[in-house]
Symmetry: C2
Subunit: 340 residues, 2 copies
DNA sequence: TTGTACGCGTTATCAC
DNA sequence: GTGATAACGCGTACAA
């Protein structure tokens, strides 16, 4: 690979002039500019952005850590991050944690060694050492999807408590009294914990008893949703509705219910969380809590870049709007309907 | 940020020793090793992998270019790439093309400036200048998802012709005679073109006339699938089955058919392509051609890394197995069934 | 407008 | 086992 030195020699100018011709052409006379351009072609010269970063001390790279890229909701966020980052001349180093804190911590380290200028994290452990270290080193980072409203971490998230509350309320208004919840494990998802709190609070506000037998903590996958709902449906007093901590679980629960011979939505109403694109394309279409995934990624990147460029220590907390999208997977429970 | 120089000064050793303590501890005496470790802690020293790459001339970074990260099939491939790459000490710089060649070409340039050691590309233009340039510069890269069996490009793909043929044959065996196809635009997807050839050939082999009015080229999205099938269903002689170039289109077509009042699968059998995870969780579950997406990414990375490390110019072509997964979205056409 | 010379953080080479 | 030092490719004072 040729370097600016080769180009300089060939064009009969100094390396400084070549550098200028690339980064500030207006400071180079048209003739030399032309000569340099020709020489670059002749050398098949390729600019080395890493070398530049080495001297300017800017890697122009961001690190992005998500639980699982195969979940479309995170894929959307990634696009939000990339769209903004690319526009600002940044590239993105991406890593998955599979909801495992160990992987998250390892990734933080690896990406920092790679000199990313900042980190965007959907964390699995809000009070882990990984984030604490970043803070102590004053390393710029911002959290996604969290409900944090204060504290030292910058974050862009949604009100997960409210989301859980709204989902449950929707079911109660439809006439449901026994409402189950498939929750993401609290050990790796504070989001799920907050949604569960919202669910519990809503039950209480409406004079309904909270029944732990109706709540299962499990993984955020299609398979888990299917198995969990079967477990619940096989117990004594079955629910007429279920609130799921994400759309994968909800779609899994749909399938599980079908396999258990339960009619949808008559036999079981299902609410998801995320509103991934496919939710409106399945049958019955999925009632769910919408999250602005793309916007979350975009806005998080904006905040991070701001912090990187302008400095400053004051954490930013931003809560984006969610809302319920009522579709076909929820309806009044059968008992109630037949009374009409 | 402190450097090995700071550490060296603090530990009272040379930078060379610090470097050795990090990269080859066995060549450093236990005592000095200990002193260096202490000094690193005191400095809050963080290793700079970029600086190392600068001197070793290895970025330990790969570039990955996909059409759309929000398609789970590509997300799976990305995981395949990352899983292998990370294990080998490589990080991955990721970019989306949205099936636009201009973005693909731009990404090739940007990533090369970032000194990625190789590129993994799901291309939108097999004979474009972007790939040609890579070849002329002898820059290591490998294609994913392509059907190329020879030529100068290394690739890991599937037999798209065969996939299209198999899908069509499955429908014919069920008794279908009028089979439509929703194809990804040939201008940005050679894969789709090959699948279409397979579809046509299968029709011919079974004595069925190819009807251009039954083929629509469109985008690889849920919305496109829905609209396209509605267009086809609104025409005079409607098909009893449709083969879709990916699962998004197929699921979109399902929804479009439902909205058009067509029963599934009785009124319309649907075959997809990809077998994304959700395909077996919807109702009716989707008959589709399975692609080993994760394996494709993994294997492509393996080939690329091999090329990077061992050198060599001979292109590798690998075709992975596909296969049809028959589920509920396909059945005998109604006319035929009533004859029974 | 152009050139010279230095520095960025690390590794590799060669002495000792 | 350890140290001194020259690279790596580029940007940037500063001088011309």
């Amino acid at each position: 690979m040729s370097t600016i030195r080769d180009v300089a020699r060939l064009a009969g100018v100094s390396t400084a002039t070549v550098s200028r011709a690339i980064n500030a052409p207006e400071n180079v006379s048209p003739q030399t500019r032309e000569r340099v351009a020709k020489a670059m072609q002749a050398c098949r010269y390729h600019y080395n952005a890493l070398a530049r970063g080495f001297v300017t001390k800017q890697s122009s790279t961001l690190g992005l850590i998500v639980p699982s890229i195969t979940n479309p909701i995170f894929a959307e966020s990634i696009r939000g991050v990339q769209d903004y980052a690319h526009r600002e001349g940044y590239q993105v180093l991406l890593g998955d944690t599979d909801y495992e804190y160990a992987k998250e911590a390892r990734l933080c380290g690896v990406l920092r060694e790679r000199q990313v200028e900042g980190l965007i994290i959907t964390t699995t452990r809000l009070n882990g050492k990984a984030l604490q270290d970043l803070l102590e080193d004053r390393f710029p980072f911002v959290l996604l999807y969290s409900t944090v409203r204060r504290g030292p971490f910058s974050s862009v998230g949604v009100d997960n408590f409210r989301g859980g509350y709204t989902a449950t309320e929707h079911l109660i208004h439809l006439g449901h009294r026994r409402i189950a919840m498939l929750a993401g494990g609290f050990s790796f998802s504070d989001k799920s914990l907050h949604r569960w709190h919202g669910y519990k609070k809503c039950l209480r506000d409406h004079g309904l008893r909270y029944d732990p037998a109706l709540v299962i903590q499990t993984r955020y996958t299609l398979e888990s949703g299917r198995e969990a709902i079967k477990t619940i449906l096989s117990r004594e007093r079955t629910p007429t509705a279920v609130f799921c901590s994400n759309d994968f679980m909800a779609i899994g629960a749909m399938q599980g219910a079908r396999e258990a011979g339960v009619a949808l939505p008559g036999g079981l109403s299902i609410v998801g969380f995320d509103d991934m694109a496919i939710a409106s394309f399945i049958s019955p279409s999925l009632t769910t809590i919408r999250q602005p995934a793309h916007e979350m990624g975009r806005r998080g990147t904006e905040i991070l870049l701001d912090r990187i460029r302008k400095g400053g220590r004051k954490p930013v907390h931003e809560i984006l709007d969610t809302g319920i999208v009522a579709r076909e997977s929820t309806a009044a429970p059968i008992a109630l309907r037949t009374e009409i």
